[in-house]
Amino acid sequence: MYPYITFFGITIPTYGLLLTTGVVVAGAVAVRRCKRWNRSADDFFIIAACAVGLGFLFAWLLYVAVTYSPEELWNMLRSGGIGSLFNGGMVFYGGLAGGVLGALLGARLAKARLADFLNPIVPVLPLAHAFGRIGCFCAGCCYGIPTTSRLGVVYTHPAGGAPIGIPLLPVQLFEAGLNLVIFCVLLVFTRRTKSKTLVLPVYIASYGCVRFFLEFIRYDAARGALLGLSTSQWISILGVLLSAAYIAAAVIRNKRKGAEAPRA
């Protein structure tokens, strides 16, 4: 599609531009939501900065871990230094784990309770992710299987990673659309729930289901495989199971208390 766009003579790769736009838009929405929920914007900035930093770091590290052997990694570090670690792809689930860890660290630094910020912040995560997936579509990565249907997209730019001249399912756009659906669902959910923490397992479970099935129509290489499932599918299964267990425990605890809405 369009791996690069040019503004005033400066060539900017579309993926970076769209992912950054997603982070900025999601951040702006989150700041607005924090104000509406009477949360400190400064606390939000501290939590978000730590979450973004560790999120990207873990996303890169997981990519490196599943892609390179220890010997390849050692050679890369020797020849290119630490910077060479970042000259590769990213794995979303690594980013999610790092983001949660970073948010915990940020909340500690800000001396705030992270649970108070989950309802304003978590719904914007799929919004940023949707922009990133549109960036994938433009860059020509994370593409789908070959198809003969009308949905097929033919990549023509040699700089993209997708095979040229073959109609491929635009699985990146499917995922972007489904992320926007999850965003809307979470917005409604946070308005109705009285729980401070349930939004996170609901997000992880819903995205896990989406990702698990979309992986079957992904066609790009280096996906990792164990017992016929990709690395991301195994992480999806783990995320869905843990989230379901947390939601079930919250519902049971709530029923015992005799309250109508879950208060995890």
């Binding site: 791996p3 900017i12 790769p13 579309t14 993926y15 970076g16 531009l17 992912l19 950054t20 982070v23 900025v24 400190s40 400064d42 606390d43 900035f45 501290i46 900065a49 730590c50 973004v52 930093g53 990207f56 890169w60 990519y63 599943v66 892609t67 630490i82 910077g83 970042f86 000259n87 590769g88 792809g89 990213m90 794995v91 979303f92 689930y93 940020g106 630094l109 800000a110 960036g135 994938c136 860059a139 020509g140 990565c141 994370c142 700089a159 993209g160 990673g161 790009d220 290489a221 280096a222 996906r223 690395t231 991301s232």
Partner: protein, 87 residues
């Protein structure tokens, strides 16, 4: 803390604008600048305006570093074909 935030914000802006190859370092500096700026604003430091300026510079620096550096990472990964795809 406010002064440190402003200095880090300006450094990250410079790295984001002129040295995209070390964008990861600029992003780290910008994140530290954001944290210091926010903490200074929270503590109602005497230099709240300077802390706000540092926070804004750091956010813009982070955005610049992210656009150029993540983009670079994506380029390299695309060029690498088989082992390149972003999961």
């Amino acid at each position: 803390m406010a002064i440190a935030s402003l200095v880090l914000g300006i450094v990250s802006l410079v790295i984001g604008a002129f040295f995209s190859s070390i964008g990861w370092l600029g992003a780290v500096i910008a994140i530290v600048g954001i944290i210091l700026g926010s903490v200074a604003r929270k503590q109602n430091d005497d230099n709240v305006k300077m802390a706000t300026a540092g926070l804004i510079c750091s956010i813009i620096g982070l955005i610049l570093c992210m656009i150029l550096f993540i983009a670079c990472a994506a380029c390299v990964s695309c060029a690498g074909a088989a082992a390149s795809s972003l999961y």
